[in-house]
Amino acid sequence: MEPGLSDEILLSDDFIRQLVSVGEVDLLVGIRSHNDCRTVGNVVRAAEESLLRKFRRQRTVLVNVDAGSRDGTPQAVRQASLLGANGIESLRTLRWITTSTGSSADGVAALRTILAAADLLHAKACAVVSASGEGVAPAWIESLLNPVFADNFDYVAPLYARHRFDGLLTRNLLYPLGRALFGNPMRELRPTEFAFSGRLASDCLNSGEWDQEGLQSGPETWIAVTAITNSYKCCQTFLGPKPRSTSGGVVDVIRRTVSGFFWCLESTEPFWLKGRDPDRLATNGPDHQLTSEPVRVDRKKMFQLYRTGVAELSEILHSILDADTHAELVRLAALDENTFRFSNALWVRTIYEFAAAYHHSVIHRDHLVQAFVPIYRGRVHSFLTVHRSDDADTMEADIEDLCQEFGRQRDFFIGRWSTKG
């Protein structure tokens, strides 16, 4: 697609007018919001404080792209902004751009708008934060922007201190799978906070992929994978504790994450099919940190949902999985909850078979990803049970074993991916 045409459609006249007024910048912080009235104030103040204190000399702009909030989020942004700069000496005018993408809450239009702003303003470094991020602190913005601005990295992924039972989809799927296929040990492949260079922003914006359905599920993942697979200079940076997500919609998150990632595998096939030696990834701060305050998890329900899912979706699973794999899942579903264990080997094989089936579109892709949800629940149940009393290091050792397992079965996956049937 001709990039200019895409921009014309995406950006409103008012947004363009604001861009014209701001002009070239060194740093851009994009804040995506959608009904985040409660939390956006903290994010705005953190961003302003960071820019005013740590990037005094740079030309900066904050861009709030709101996805049609109905709870007064844009007003909260304005109010917080007025308070944010209080008492902080600044050399320059702190610039703000606010716009709305209408009612699209999927984040794609918002992210694309931020990329467009970065491209048109020639921003050298851009950070994206979520307005729902309760833990966003001024230091986060600095930690995200600095590697790009000062050290010429093109992409900065976040690292968080997470609860040991949080981020399980990332730790059980995205991280080990990405590491096995891309050779890159990036921990957060579907980040809510990240940073990128103007060069990467421009290339992503001008990509012809924006209309692809798979990208709609996970634009953040797509940017991360684009950076990894196109030899951009990547790093990860420790931000701090990430509060547990209390938002609902687990099924939707799983669906989007898996769908988005499988689609990325397709679009980057030439890169990873060749086989990659493991890369070293520059990391600022600790590369993982787990906390272990007590939390309540309804494991029993998870197991029931797994058992029900495997039974009800038997026909679909049969079309996706090898007979042996399917049989093993069925066998596990018949076990008593206390003896139920979903091994690393089975988990890896199942994922690989799902990914290959997605690639070959053996059934409608939406249905395929929906069928993955109970399987994931089963894995999580097992993971939580096994690690119920384990410390962070033991859990991390298990994740490392899982990564190795993904690597061991890589050839199997490539075979399945390359041959339909």
């Binding site: 007018r17 604001q18 014209v20 701001v22 002009g23 005094r56 000399r57 050399l91 320059r92 005018t93």
Partner: protein, 548 residues
């Protein structure tokens, strides 16, 4: 032509600051002089300036470039005679130019007969003309101004075995203004020059006249009282003459020097904090520093006026900026440590702007359009360079570059005999930058400056008008309207190195036709809609807003 007699003439002036020593040498001794300066008055008249401010020309050991005065009522023999000065004064007046001279009130040279007498014995009648102490403990809250050279404001006098007070160099003892005899003596100095015909005084180092323990010894009420007394005597005996304050202070403190009511202290005072912020705004490409400082500038009495400048004989002072701003200015404008002195940057305008003609023009454009009487420092009208390897601030006081020949046309003596070495590098040297060659080109900086000054003088909105800042969303653009009587001028400045589009809210001037003042080009009529202008890098426009 004679000097116009309108009141408040200083408001409409364009001042040219020059150094007798560095301007033109008429007798081939390598040092500029009054006769030489007189010969160059036609050049200054052609430039369009209307007042000349002379740096100190009095007898002096010249350890502080003449600010260490040894005799207030005479002329340094290197610069000529008192008669030469009188002839110069008359010639300037004939060309419609006023002459402002320096009056260093605060201190004398330690070679001044007053100090020689004062130190000769503790009983000498002049002893109390200076500030003495047996200890160096008094006035400890007073800051040291020349931090690069002085460790204390007290200096030990081995002759009379006591400490004497000095706010500047130790060879410049402060006069004691608590002594009525000192005040009377300084009035007599002023009277002497006023009777000769000078039009005003730039009073040096005003805030430091009086000392009181437990204070900063700056801006004390007693200091204001002394100024008021001088002003009163001036108005009584020499109406229409000017007092201009050098007080490197924040606007709120300086504005006190305008006095009460209609202004009973200084007619004008330098706006020191604005100057570095103009440079900062251009480097930041953001109008914020300028707007902020002008918004923090208090109203002044109607008869008074700010005096504004880009560069002068001193360093680009960074005393009136915050630490953050100072660090920024040093990093951006004086990375080389030899460019720094005291709390400032010893550089001329052109080198500060990397010899970028567009930026030099923009800064001059702002200087000529912002509220205040502008001062042009000699040589900056042709983009002269500096020599940071000369000591103190001498690097910005090198001889004027008149032509590309022997000694830049400044003097016919041997180059080795010149009062200061000429700037001779290929970029700023006199072969490349000189009056003669620039006179020959319509597009030279000199020719451009002539036109700029001419346009500035064409509207009293610039010299006397109110200012209202516009607030376009594009912060790289500084836009304001100056208004005086029925005259309205819109100034729009692009502070950025790139092209900019700006939408101005000119609803208030709906129906007006903007006429660009340099080319007299008509622009589309102002409507209710935002007025869109596109501007080239560092471009500025002045529009006369006419309702036709």
């Amino acid at each position: 032509m004679t000097v116009p007699t309108q009141s408040e003439w200083y408001k409409d002036s364009v001042i040219y600051q020059l150094h007798v020593r560095a301007f033109y040498d008429s007798n081939s001794d390598g040092i500029g002089d009054f006769r030489g300066m007189e010969q160059k008055l036609d050049y200054l008249q052609g430039l369009g300036v209307t007042a000349l401010w002379l740096l100190p020309f009095f007898p002096s050991p010249l350890r502080d470039d003449g600010y260490d005065i040894a005799d207030y009522c005479s002329v340094h023999k290197s610069y000529g005679t008192l008669d030469d000065m009188k002839a110069f004064l008359a010639a300037a007046h004939e060309r419609g130019m006023r002459v402002i001279i320096e009056l260093v009130l605060n201190h004398t040279s330690d070679q001044h007969p007053w100090f020689q007498e004062a130190r000769s014995s503790r009983d000498n009648p002049r002893r109390n003309w200076y500030v003495w102490s047996d200890t160096d403990e008094l006035y400890r809250d007073a800051r040291i101004i020349f931090v690069d050279t002085e460790l204390s404001n007290w200096a030990w006098d081995p002759v009379s075995k006591a400490y004497y007070w000095h706010r500047f160099f130790s060879h410049q003892p402060d006069l004691n203004y608590d002594n009525p005899d000192v005040r009377e003596a300084m009035w007599n100095v002023m009277k002497f020059w006023l009777e000769l015909g000078v039009d005003g005084f730039r009073l040096d180092a005003v805030p430091y006249l009086v000392e009181r323990d437990g204070t900063s010894c700056e801006n004390l009420p007693e200091t204001h009282e002394i100024v008021r007394e001088l002003r009163h005597r001036l108005d009584q005996s020499f109406p229409g003459k000017l007092l201009l304050a050098e007080a490197n202070q924040w606007p709120a403190d300086v504005s006190a020097y305008f006095g009460h009511g209609d202004g009973d202290e200084f007619h004008m005072a330098f706006h020191f904090p604005l100057m570095p912020r103009m440079f900062m705004a251009v480097k930041l490409e953001d109008r914020k520093p300028i707007i902020e400082i002008l918004q923090r500038t208090p109203e002044i009495p109607a008869s008074c006026q700010w005096c504004i400048f880009l560069r002068n004989h001193d360093e680009l002072t960074l005393e009136m900026v915050t630490d953050v701003e100072r660090d920024y200015m040093y990093d951006e404008y004086a990375r080389d440590k030899s460019m720094r002195i005291n709390v400032g940057i010893r550089r001329r305008l052109a080198p500060l702007m990397d010899n970028d003609r567009r930026r030099i023009e923009l800064l001059n454009g702002m200087l000529m359009s912002m509220p205040g009487t502008p001062v042009v420092y000699y040589g900056d009208e042709i983009g002269m360079g500096d020599n940071i390897y000369l000591g103190d601030r001498n690097g910005v006081r090198t001889p004027m570059q008149w032509d590309g020949h022997w000694n830049a046309g400044f003097s016919s003596t041997d180059p080795e005999q010149l009062c200061a070495p000429l700037v001779s590098n290929p970029v700023y040297g006199y072969q490349a930058v000189n009056v003669d060659s620039q006179k020959r080109s319509e597009h030279s900086l000199l020719s451009w400056m002539k036109r700029l000054i001419q346009v500035r003088k064409s509207s009293q909105a610039f010299s006397r008008g109110t200012i209202e800042f516009l607030d376009p969303p594009n912060h790289r653009v500084l836009a304001f309207v100056r208004e005086y009587g029925k005259e309205r001028v819109l100034a729009v400045n692009n502070l950025s190195s790139t092209c900019q589009a700006v939408e101005l809210n000119l609803k208030k001037y709906k129906g007006s036709i903007p006429i660009e003042m340099s080319g007299k080009t008509i622009f589309p009529r102002v409507t209710e809609l935002p007025y869109l202008l596109t501007m080239g890098p560092y471009q500025f426009y002045w529009f006369r807003l006419r309702r036709i």
